[in-house]
Subunit: 316 residues, 2 copies
C-alpha cells in the first residue's frame, strides 16, 4: 500500500507501518494532530494483548523481548515493542546498546519496534507512551510488549497499563527482592529470573519464593520462570505462562476490571501531568511567581503558603 | 518546661520535644493548624544540617542512622531523625523491625525520632515529610537525618531536600549499581557500602568506582565509605566525609544554590500534590466524571479527551 493513500488514521487502522511510526512521532512531539488521531482510532483499540516487562537495568529485558518476539512471530502474531528509556545526562549509551538485541527483527514487517526516552519524573512520558501503545493496538498489533526500566515505584505508571506485568530479575538482583519483600515494589503477575546459567540462580529463586509466600494468596499463583534469553532457553515456558495468565484473567473477568482501573488511572495521570506542566510553565514565566520563590528562599514565606498563592493565581 | 506554657509555636521554637511531636502530628494529619504553625516558625528554619540517606531496603540504613546519631551526640549536637516508611498492604513488619535499632536513643532528650508512613505515590507524603523536617529545623535540631527507602527515582522527591545526599548500598546491591550506571538513579554526594565484612565488598566498591568514573567530573569527588554500622565501624569516617561535603558546598556557595533549587521544587511538589488530590476527589464524587470514565472503558471516548474534559470542568 503506498504511503499517500487515505488519511493517516485510515492507513494506521489498515496496519501501515509508516503511518504508525508517523502517528507515534506526533504523539511524542505533543502535536495536537497526534491527540486527534488517538481520539479517532480509539474505538478500534482493546484487541491487542498488552504485556509489560519491568525490572532493573542490566537484567536482559531487551534480549528477552527479542526472544519473546521470535516466539510470537512463529505463532503468526504481529508484534509491537515499545521500550521506555530512562533519560539521564549521565550515561545514555548503556541502554541504547541493548536495543541492538532487537535488530534481528528490524526487517520483519510483522514487528514494529519503537524506543521512547523519558522526559523527567512527572513529565509527559508515560502520557505519550500510553498513547503510543494505543496506536499500536489500533494498528492491529496482536501482541504489544512494553518495556520499562524500574526498580521502585517510579515506572509503575506505565507498566500498570499492561494486562499482564512481568518482573525480570537476574541472580544478583538482591535489591529488587528486598524491595518486593518490603512492599516497596508491586507484586507482578509473572517473575522471570534471566541469566539463569549463573551459579546463584537457585538461591535467587528460593529467595523470591520465600518473599511470595509472605504475600496475600490470590487465586493466581505467580510463576517464577528461569530463562537464558540470549540462547532462547526458557522463553517458550514464559510464553506458556503468559498465555495461562491471560486465560486466567479472561475467565475470571478480571481482565475487564483491570482495564477499567488502568484506563481510569490513565485519565488521571494525563490530567495530572497536564496540570503539572501548566504549573511549571507559569512558574517559569510569571515574574510574580519568581518573586514568591525569592521570598521562600529568604525564609519570609513558607513553601506551603507559596504553593497556595500560586494555585490561587493559576485558578483565577 | 511544662507542656502548657506558651503557644505551640513558642514551645516548638524553644526546642520542646512534645511540642515538636504534636506539631508533626498536625502536619501529618493535614490539619490546617499544622500548616499555620509551619508558616509561623518558617523564618527560624535553615540552621540545621539536613542529611538524606537513601538506598534499597535491607542494606542497614536504620542501623547506620543509629550509629551516626551516636557520633553527632558525642559531638554535642542535637539530632532529629525522620524515617519514611513505604506503605504497602504486603508486609508492614519488615521495615518496622528496623526502627528498633534506634531504640538506644529513645531516652535521650537530644534525639528526636519520628517515622512517617508513605501515603501513596503522589499523595501527601513528601509534602508532610518536608514540613516535618522544617519543624525539626525550627525546633533547633543541629542535624536532621532523613531516611527514605528507594531504588529508583520515586523517593528523590524527599531526599532532594537534603543538603547532602548519602546513598547506602551493601554487597549484593547489583540492581542499584546498574541503576546508577544506567542513569536511572541520581548520583549522590557520598556512597556508603554497609555490611562491609561481606567477602564481596571489594568487588562492589570496584564496581561503584567504575560507574562513577563514567560520570561527569565535578569538583566534589564522591567518596565511597565502607561501614559495618552494626559494630560502628567506618561511621567516624562517614561523619568526616559528611563534614567535608558540607564545608565544600559552603565554600563553593553551592549550599545556597542547592537550597534555592530544593525550596523551589518543594513549592512545586506541594502545589502539584494538592492539585492531584483535588482532581482525585472530584473524580470520586462527580457523577459526570464517572460517566466520562464509563465512556472511556467502552472505548467511545479516548483517555486524553476525557482528561481534557475533566480539567475544563474543574477549572470552570
Amino acid at each position: 500500500m503506498p504511503d499517500t493513500e487515505g488519511t493517516l488514521a485510515e492507513r494506521l487502522l489498515a496496519g501501515d507501518r509508516r503511518a504508525l511510526a508517523r502517528a507515534i512521532s506526533l504523539v511524542e512531539d505533543d502535536d495536537p494532530e497526534g491527540w486527534a488521531l488517538v481520539r479517532e482510532v480509539y474505538p478500534r483499540t482493546g484487541n491487542g494483548a498488552v504485556i509489560g516487562f519491568t525490572g532493573p537495568p542490566g537484567v536482559g529485558k531487551s534480549t528477552l523481548l527479542a526472544a519473546m518476539t521470535k516466539i510470537e512471530r512463529a505463532r503468526g502474531h504481529s508484534v509491537g515493542v515499545l521500550s521506555i528509556d530512562p533519560s539521564s545526562p549521565f550515561t545514555r549509551g548503556a541502554l541504547l546498546g541493548d536495543r541492538i538485541r532487537l535488530s534481528d527483527h528490524f526487517l520483519d514487517p510483522g514487528v514494529f519496534i519503537r524506543s521512547m526516552a523519558t522526559r523527567g519524573a512527572l513529565g509527559g512520558m508515560s502520557e505519550a507512551a500510553l498513547q503510543a501503545a494505543l496506536l499500536m493496538d489500533a494498528a492491529g498489533r496482536d501482541v504489544i510488549l512494553l518495556e520499562t526500566v524500574g526498580v521502585g515505584q517510579a515506572e509503575v505508571d506505565i507498566i500498570d497499563h499492561a494486562d499482564t506485568v512481568v518482573l525480570v530479575l537476574m541472580p544478583g538482583s538482591g535489591d529488587s527482592v528486598q524491595a518486593l519483600k518490603a512492599g516497596v515494589m508491586e507484586i507482578p503477575d509473572v517473575i522471570v529470573v534471566n541469566k539463569a546459567d549463573h551459579p546463584l540462580t537457585d538461591t535467587m529463586v528460593r529467595e523470591i519464593r520465600g518473599v511470595l509466600s509472605l504475600g496475600p494468596r490470590g487465586d493466581w499463583r505467580i510463576p517464577i520462570v528461569q530463562t537464558e534469553a540470549v540462547r532462547g532457553e526458557g522463553v517458550e515456558e514464559l510464553a506458556e505462562k503468559l498465555d495461562q495468565h491471560r486465560a486466567f484473567i479472561d475467565a475470571e473477568g478480571t481482565l475487564s476490571d483491570r482495564r477499567r482501573r488502568n484506563l481510569m488511572n490513565e485519565v488521571l495521570a494525563i490530567a495530572a501531568a497536564r496540570m503539572r506542566r501548566e504549573l511549571e510553565a507559569s512558574v517559569r514565566e510569571d515574574p510574580a511567581v519568581k518573586e514568591l520563590l525569592d521570598r521562600v528562599v529568604s525564609r519570609e514565606l513558607d513553601p506551603a503558603s507559596a504553593a497556595t498563592t500560586i494555585l490561587e493565581r493559576s485558578v483565577a
